[in-house]
């Protein structure tokens, strides 16, 4: 069968009915002239369901009619692995992509590896395994066909799910040999395609959930509805450092639709904490009822007394503490090449600058939520989670139910950005369900979500550079501090490119919960580092791109130290590419142009950004972005990821912050926490991928970190004003 065929027939029908009705049903002109895209061009695929499915392994099922189902193992948070991972299997399996149905796999630690959405690593780690999966199934299908046709395996070829024997002109569909193929032993390893023969990888394939998304189909955790399901919300302490002292729920309990108000603790005696168990409020109050609105109303009527457990923190103190530490104490030395102190003493020019950035909330558009149905001996969970395997480990200890009896299914997620690595909301849902003895969907309000983060830590870094009389970089020092943890990667650029180089790290503990936020540490340090390089290039009297390239040349031909965590040639490659594409000219100063380049998640990104100033307000006109992430599996969607990272990075550099007063987050919804909006995003983004045939690397994160510096450098070029403290548009006095 052919899904396309069905689609064309439906399209025809639409056109006819439109004309016959004498009008245009949806108000568009079906007689459109050639220059307009055809209408109703994209209709949801209609796959004819087979009578029998053959399960080939954990990943692939083949129908007797040739339709193929490919499981997507990893959680989908918007990074579009649900399209890309099955594309890799389909490529090696050699099937027609139009004939593929993609399904989200549940958590299954036996069938799948690393079912995690994090670190931009799904494709990089999945690459070889997914290719082998497809190639092995193709191998047994061919072996089965060889038997049926009674010809040697070598005489058979495959194309789009058809196995052909050229000499006799005979052919068999995968669906016709699948039943036999499952009886053939799958070899340990089989050859894979030469990348130049790829027909699916490298082609833009549309998001497999695209039709469902634009039609508002129930895809997300928040959309889950099950028989007998109750709605739950939680109330957590108002300030970091506080816990529940006493609860008066008499009023709330009597309100319409309310079933119960309970206290739950996700860290009971004897539990077994997992990596993902980061949470400042182990004990919370849960309100359970029939409908969301009723529960929301009752939540307001809870009367809870809180008590202080650890001292409350203030943003105003945070930045003073960091500044004092860096200025007055020696940090933990993470790397020291040459003799930095002597080099500074000998330097002709010294430039020293300090950069900072506040805590950030993740603010996935879909707030935290989870469905759980826990019975005496079983737990069924369904919802948005980036780390289902850790959640399973936590639940085993907290619920006292063995792993075999816990099932976790991932819904499509309305954003992740690291927030859903930390699945305490899943544990909360399970505990509520267990206590209520009923299926429950837990929903966080936006306020609950924003004020109980695993926030991006607050950071500060001081850079110091020494230049000789020729403007060569002879000394470089980085002092990085964070609440908590230093943001500095000691072995990344410009380590290896400077003879005298030292990194010192400082850590300030906090009772505010923090965690990974899209491109952890890089999301701050890239902006600081690349802004500073711009400034020292200027002090050296050099073009900022040439200045960086000189350093890469040094790191390539005569590297300092052994452990340099980047490939100077690939790094320089993206910078040269963006230089050419943007038509960068060293004489174009003052036009509002900035450059930046960074390496993270195993990928290289360089950006040139054009800005126009309206008074003090920058408007980004255009971003040129060169990316080296090896083979690009799905170019259209890859470009979407790069664009998204750029918009997200510009927005957070300009507008966003979480601040604290006596431990209380001062922002709790989008009226006080500003995210970038449509009118503020760049008019145009051009993306250029390096075509080098190398195995694929990260894509969801790498375009975000450098863009803040491209923006800051462009703003300086346009206005003469440098920005050191994020968010750039906020009065820094508010941040202390």
């Amino acid at each position: 069968m052919n899904a396309n065929h069905t689609n064309k027939q439906r399209r025809q029908f639409l056109k006819v009915s439109a004309a016959a009705g004498g009008g245009l049903i949806f108000g568009f002109n079906f007689m459109a002239c050639e220059s307009k895209p055809a209408l109703a061009e994209f209709l949801p695929p209609e796959h004819q369901m087979p009578e029998v499915w053959k399960e080939m392994n954990g990943f692939v099922k083949i129908g007797d009619n040739g339709v193929v189902t490919i499981m997507s193992p990893n959680p989908e948070i918007g990074q579009n692995v649900k399209t890309a991972m099955p594309m890799i299997v389909a490529e090696e399996l050699d099937v027609d992509w139009d004939n593929v149905i993609v399904e989200q796999a549940p958590l299954d630690t036996e069938k799948y590896q690393r079912q995690i959405a994090g670190g931009s690593q799904s494709i990089r780690f999945g690459w070889n395994g997914l290719r082998q999966t497809g190639a092995k199934i193709r191998h047994v299908l061919i072996a089965a066909a060889a038997k049926q046709l009674d010809v040697p395996v070598e005489e058979l070829s495959t194309d789009k799910g058809i196995i052909s024997h050229a000499a006799s002109g005979r052919s068999l569909g995968y669906g016709e040999v699948a039943a036999d193929a499952v009886t053939i032993e799958i070899p340990e390893e089989v050859p894979v395609k030469d990348p130049k023969d790829f027909t699916i990888i490298g082609q833009s394939k549309k998001n497999v959930d695209g039709f469902d998304i634009v039609q508002g189909k129930p895809l997300f955790g928040l959309d889950v509805k099950k028989e007998g399901m109750l709605i739950a919300m939680i109330t957590h302490p108002p300030a970091f450092g506080m816990k529940i002292k006493s609860l008066d729920d008499s009023k709330a309990k009597g309100m319409p639709g309310i079933k119960d108000v309970i206290r739950i603790n996700v860290e009971p005696e004897g539990w077994n904490p997992q990596w993902s168990d980061v949470n400042s409020y182990p004990e919370v109050v849960a309100i359970v009822g029939n409908t969301t609105w009723e529960v929301m109303q009752a939540k307001k009527e809870l009367n809870i007394q809180w008590e202080t457990e650890t001292p409350a923190e203030n943003t105003t103190d945070h930045f003073t503490t960091l500044a004092e530490l860096i200025k007055t104490s020696k940090g933990e030395v993470a790397r020291h090449d040459g003799d930095v102190d002597k080099a500074f003493a000998d330097a002709e020019t010294i430039v020293e600058k300090t950069y900072s950035a506040p805590f950030l909330a993740h603010n996935t558009m879909e707030p935290m939520n989870f469905f759980a149905n826990v019975t005496a001996d079983k737990a069924e969970l369904l919802g948005p989670i980036q780390t289902p395997m850790f959640l399973e480990g936590t639940l085993e200890g907290v619920l006292g139910i063995p792993k075999e009896n816990i099932s976790i299914m991932m819904t499509r997620m309305g954003g992740g950005f690291g927030r859903r690595l930390y699945g305490h909301f899943g544990t909360e849902a399970a505990l509520i369900s267990q206590k209520m003895n009923a299926p429950v969907k837990l929903i966080y309000t936006r306020e609950d979500d924003m004020t109980q983060g695993t926030y991006r830590p607050a950071y500060m870094v001081t850079y110091k550079a020494g230049l000789d009389t020729e403007g060569n970089l002879t000394a470089f020092e980085i002092k990085g501090a964070g609440i908590p943890g230093s943001p500095v990667f000691a072995n990344r650029y410009p380590a290896g490119a400077v003879e005298n180089y030292r990194v010192e790290n400082y850590n300030v503990p906090t009772n505010i919960s923090t965690g990974a936020w899209r491109a952890p540490r890089s999301n701050f340090i890239a902006t600081a580092e690349q802004s500073f390089l711009d400034e020292i290039a200027e002090a050296a009297g050099k073009d900022p791109i040439d200045f960086r390239l000189e350093l890469f040349e040094k790191a390539k031909t005569n590297p300092v130290g052994e452990e340099n965590d980047y490939d100077a040639e690939r790094y320089a490659g993206v910078l040269k590419l963006v230089k050419e594409k943007a038509g960068w000219s060293p004489t174009g100063k003052g036009s509002g142009r900035g450059v930046s380049a960074y390496y993270c998640h195993n990928s290289y990104v360089a950006q040139v950004l054009d800005v126009e100033m309206d008074g003090d307000t920058p408007k980004v006109k255009k971003v040129h972005c060169a990316v080296d992430c090896g083979i690009v599996v799905n170019p259209g969607s890859a470009k979407n990821q790069i664009e998204g990272g750029i918009v997200d990075g510009i927005g957070h550099a300009l507008y966003s912050a979480i601040t604290f007063k006596n431990g209380v987050p001062q922002q709790s919804n989008f009226d006080s926490y500003k995210l970038i909006r449509h009118a503020e995003s760049p008019d145009e983004i051009d993306v250029y991928f390096v075509d080098n045939g190398k195995d694929p690397t990260g894509l969801g994160e790498p375009s975000l970190p450098p863009i803040g510096a491209a923006l800051a450098n462009a703003v300086y070029d346009a206005s003469g004003k440098r920005h050191y403290h994020q968010p750039f548009t906020v009065n820094q006095e508010l941040l202390g």
Partner: protein
């Protein structure tokens, strides 16, 4: 509680709810129309956008009582098969990343194009400014609105 008669996507329905319940939660909890999303609850993000008598409104902040006698259209009512020109343009440009904000974006865009079939760039930016996309798909949304405008 009160019995209210509503018209949703061309169908007459009766619900028995507290009349102050926002339309959003009536759609999601009582009518099982979950395409309309919750993002902020305070008319700041646009995830809950629906059409009320053809105008884009934030359903999280409009009590259901004020919808009586008016026509509610949700994302589910825009077309039966994703064939509305705005949905088509969204597919053509492969707009969604996580997809959570997109129903609201599409409802805002379709209301805009009904009133203003060929909006300028700045009219598009203004109209779409109330809809937040944390994934940062704005440039694609912008291009998709223009494509939809050409095809409307």
């Amino acid at each position: 509680m009160a019995k209210l008669s509503l018209s949703v996507n061309g169908n007459s329905v009766t619900v028995d709810v507290d009349p102050s319940t926002p339309i959003l939660w009536v759609l999601r909890d009582h009518l099982e129309l979950v395409g309309t999303k919750y993002g902020c609850g305070i008319a700041q993000c646009g995830a809950c956008t629906i059409h009320l008598n053809g105008n884009a409104v934030r359903s999280c902040s409009v009590p259901v009582s004020s919808a009586e006698g008016k026509e509610i259209t949700t994302i589910e009512g825009l077309s039966d098969d994703a064939s509305h020109p705005v949905q088509q343009a969204w597919i053509a440009h492969d707009v969604p990343q996580c997809g959570y904000c997109q129903a609201g974006q599409i409802m805002t865009a379709s209301a805009l194009l009904k009133d203003n079939p060929s909006p300028s760039d700045s009219e598009i930016s203004q109209a779409m400014n109330g809809n937040i996309c944390r994934c940062g798909t704005y440039t694609r949304i912008h291009a998709a609105v223009k494509t939809a405008a050409k095809n409307s």
